[in-house]
């Protein structure tokens, strides 16, 4: 039996509407539950980064990553375990303000967990904590005693420890080879996948 672990897959893709669905299909088809997912722009212009975590074994996850890389819009996908990345999540908590006023212990908890207060109203207070899953979970456990009414955690975001920026290099190389092929001039830049206008109007 292969060892089950939490794996993080990062996917670099064109910024298209349908991309999350295409990625999700790869997981659901193999009955792999997505633990968390987050998507946003990344440092490369026009490229989006999607980060997905899931519990599985390495051979299955290699197949997932290979299948994701086959999606036409995907530049590259990578598979990581926790030791290969710096990662973080953000969690928000809503507690009744009266409890905060009444119980000095609560203030200590907030300090101990390095949480921040985002908003205080007469009725409720919203706290924020960033950290690893177990850290945000630990605060939640403690707040249970104080009538916490809402708790929500974001998907994981991560940055690799690897000194090489594979995606940037890969895209630069693709574009360079293409430019040479087209014009013999390496400064000539080929068109991006979709024009800005098309992107807005086409449901990808």
């Amino acid at each position: 039996m292969q060892e089950r672990k939490l794996f993080t897959v990062t996917i670099f893709s064109e910024n298209t509407v349908g991309i999350l669905n295409l990625i999700a299909i790869v997981y659901t088809r193999r009955c792999i539950n997505i633990e968390s997912i987050s998507a946003s722009a990344c440092s490369i212009p026009g490229v989006h980064k999607v980060t997905v975590t899931s519990w599985s074994d390495r051979p299955s996850m290699i197949k997932v990553v290979n299948a994701i890389e086959k999606i036409i819009y995907v530049v590259k996908a990578f598979l990581y375990t926790d030791d290969e990345i710096v990662y973080q999540e953000i969690a928000l908590y809503k507690v009744p303000t009266v409890r905060l006023v009444d119980e000095p212990e609560l203030e200590k908890i907030i300090r101990r967990h390095n949480a921040r207060i985002l908003e205080i109203t007469h009725d409720y207070t919203v706290l924020e904590k960033t950290g690893h899953n177990d850290e945000t979970e630990a605060l939640f456990e403690e707040l249970k005693a104080y009538d916490i009414t809402q708790f929500v955690r974001s998907g994981r975001v991560c940055i690799t420890k690897d000194p090489v920026e594979h995606v940037t290099n890969y895209l630069a190389e693709r574009d360079r080879l293409r430019s040479i092929q087209l014009s013999g001039d390496p400064s000539h830049s080929p068109h991006p996948f979709f024009s800005e206008e098309t992107k807005e109007n086409t449901n990808l």
Partner: protein
């Protein structure tokens, strides 16, 4: 309408023509009526084949694509027209068939409102296409078409869907078409890895018992000459997958048969004796490998494929070469040393001899009793000088046709391999004949499968398409019945068939035919069929409960074969 602006529907037609399309298979409807209206003016350049069902259209396009290597094009309307294509789209994905499927869609203003005949086709198609795109603006049509053709027929080919909203078809635009040959996120031609090539050559040069597994990828990339050269240079026996048949002529001394569940004994058994396996453009499907932990235990495996996700997917391999089969083999050939393996080849002969007496002779030359499928296939192959395009349906007819038909030129087998779609043969044969009018096209089908798309006799009638249809009628869903006999105590649950008279049915469509019940009448009937200048339907009454052997039952390894219902192949003396 200003002079230089045309509607998106016309832009679509022009872009298809600009991509070199001359034939489209389809079926009209409300959401694609604008395209059909424009088509009316372009019929001299773009021939449209109106099938009798959208499934027929897409299988015909698949047959066309597989016979020619060109991209098949399909039109259908939104909603039911589009969903009728689903089986064919999935089939094309499994069998790496280049298709551009164009479906009409309701106007973008009413998308998501459950408008009449609105269906979310892009999301239905996503898991079964290489690329699926909804086009909502006329101006996007040329670039969408250009990308669709590039994606469909490069890299590992596959089906692409363009779902074109009504307003995109109606909107006016200035048409110009530029072909696409680059998408930065999609690598259609991976660079050759010279390290892997030299590693592979080293493995091949040290081989004592090498075996080539030739798959569909060889055919797709046109690597048949390089395959042959490699096999001959190092005297390596070649086994093929079902879809790899005809990559080496059946008569070539190094062609040693078909792999898989109902493949030949020698290639299956020798897989587990080989010390080096060179797998080219094949994907180690479970019907080929049998039980994985009993697969090729002694072999170092070299896997050549254009699709990197196939590497180590089912079978762990020792060396992977990512690339187009023809490019890879061309680069590999100079590195491979000439070699001879007479003893290894002799071991194939011994296994072949057993298969011949135990299985083949009984199937192709039975002394008495009802007619068997194998003898019909064997005789049709001979009557067409072993050079026809074989199209099969799915079931016993498929496996026996693949086993006993012989091939002398490439791209001569069209069969639904990955999906195993009953009903594939009749429309696929239509497409193959349209794509290759100069070749004889023979479709073999069971009495079950033929009825799944039998309406396409109407297409054959309307367009006078001279395909030869052989209905192997055993009055059963034969393949399922075989499993019921062997593994479910012969409880024939829902497999006996009550059939129409197929010859009368064909005659309703003006297609000549005859019904053979007696072995003595078979040869002349086949001659009449082959000589007929028109389409022809030959219905042959087949032994009702004959089985296909050899058989690698589910869960067995490639060398654990059944020779018949009671005997297993005994390898101890071989």
């Amino acid at each position: 309408m200003s002079d230089h602006k045309i509607p998106g529907s016309e832009a679509l037609i022009r872009s298809l023509i600009a991509e070199g399309v001359d034939t489209v298979f389809g079926y009209p409807g409300g959401s694609i009526i604008n395209v059909y209206d424009r088509l009316y003016d372009y019929q001299d350049r773009l021939r449209h084949i109106l099938t009798r069902h959208e499934q027929g259209a897409i299988h015909a396009a698949q047959g066309f694509a597989r016979a020619t290597g060109r991209t098949g094009v399909v039109f259908a309307t939104s909603g039911p027209g589009a969903t009728n294509l689903v089986t064919g789209i999935g089939d094309a994905l499994m069998d790496s068939t280049p298709l551009v499927v164009i479906t009409g869609q309701v106007a973008s203003s009413v998308l998501g409102t459950d408008a009449f005949q609105e269906i979310d086709m892009v999301d239905i198609a996503n898991p079964i296409t290489k690329w699926a795109l909804q086009v909502r603006r006329a101006a996007d049509i040329p670039s969408a078409v250009a990308r669709a053709f590039f994606i469909a027929n490069s890299g590992r080919p596959g089906p692409v869907l363009l779902d074109i909203a009504k307003d995109a078809q109606q909107g006016l635009m200035e048409w110009s078409h530029e072909k696409c040959d680059y998408i930065r996120t999609y690598c259609d031609r991976p660079a050759l890895d010279y390290h892997a090539l030299s590693q592979a050559a080293g493995i091949i040069n040290s081989a004592v018992r090498p075996l080539i597994l030739s798959g569909h990828g060889v055919m797709i990339s046109g690597a048949e000459p390089q395959l042959r050269e490699l096999a001959e240079k190092a005297e390596i026996p070649v086994a093929s997958t079902l879809l790899g048949l005809s990559t080496l002529p059946s008569s070539h001394p190094l062609f040693r048969g078909m792999l898989g569940m109902h493949g030949n004994i020698a290639p299956n058994v020798s897989t587990n004796r080989a010390d080096v396996i060179i797998a080219i453009g094949m994907r180690f499907d479970d019907r080929v490998t049998g039980r994985l932990d009993g697969y090729a235990p002694h072999a170092r495996i070299i896997h050549i494929d254009i699709d990197a996700s196939e590497f180590n997917k089912n079978v762990p391999v020792h060396c992977t070469i990512h690339g187009d089969a023809r490019e890879v083999l061309t680069a590999l050939l100079p590195l491979v040393h000439p070699a001879r393996h007479p003893e290894w080849l002799a071991s194939f002969d011994r296994l072949d001899a057993i298969e011949k007496t135990e299985v083949i002779d009984r199937q192709t030359h039975p002394a008495s009793g009802p007619i068997l499928m194998g003898e019909v296939v064997d005789q049709v192959s001979t009557a067409t000088s072993d050079d026809a395009i074989l199209v099969t349906d799915v079931g016993q007819n498929q496996m026996l046709a693949a086993r006993y038909f012989r091939f002398s030129s490439p791209r001569s087998i069209i069969t639904s391999g990955g999906l195993g779609t009953m009903g594939f043969s009749l429309p696929a044969a239509i497409g193959a004949k349209i794509g290759c009018p100069g070749r004889q096209v023979c479709a073999f089908a069971g009495d079950g499968g033929i009825q799944m798309t039998v309406q396409e006799l109407g297409t054959i009638m309307a367009y006078d398409i001279p395909v030869k249809i052989i209905v192997l009628n055993n009055s059963f869903l034969g393949n399922v019945r075989q499993w019921q006999e062997l593994f479910f105590n012969a409880r024939y649950s829902q497999t006996p068939m009550t059939n129409p008279d197929f010859v009368t049915l064909a005659s309703a469509y003006g297609i000549p035919g005859e019904h053979i019940t007696d072995r003595a009448d078979l040869p002349e009937a086949i001659t009449r069929m082959v000589k007929s200048p028109t389409a022809y339907l030959l219905e042959v009454d087949i032994h009702k409960t004959d089985n296909i052997f050899p058989m690698m039952p589910l869960g067995a390894a490639v060398d654990e074969l059944m020779l018949n219902a009671t005997d297993r192949l005994d390898l101890s003396s071989l």
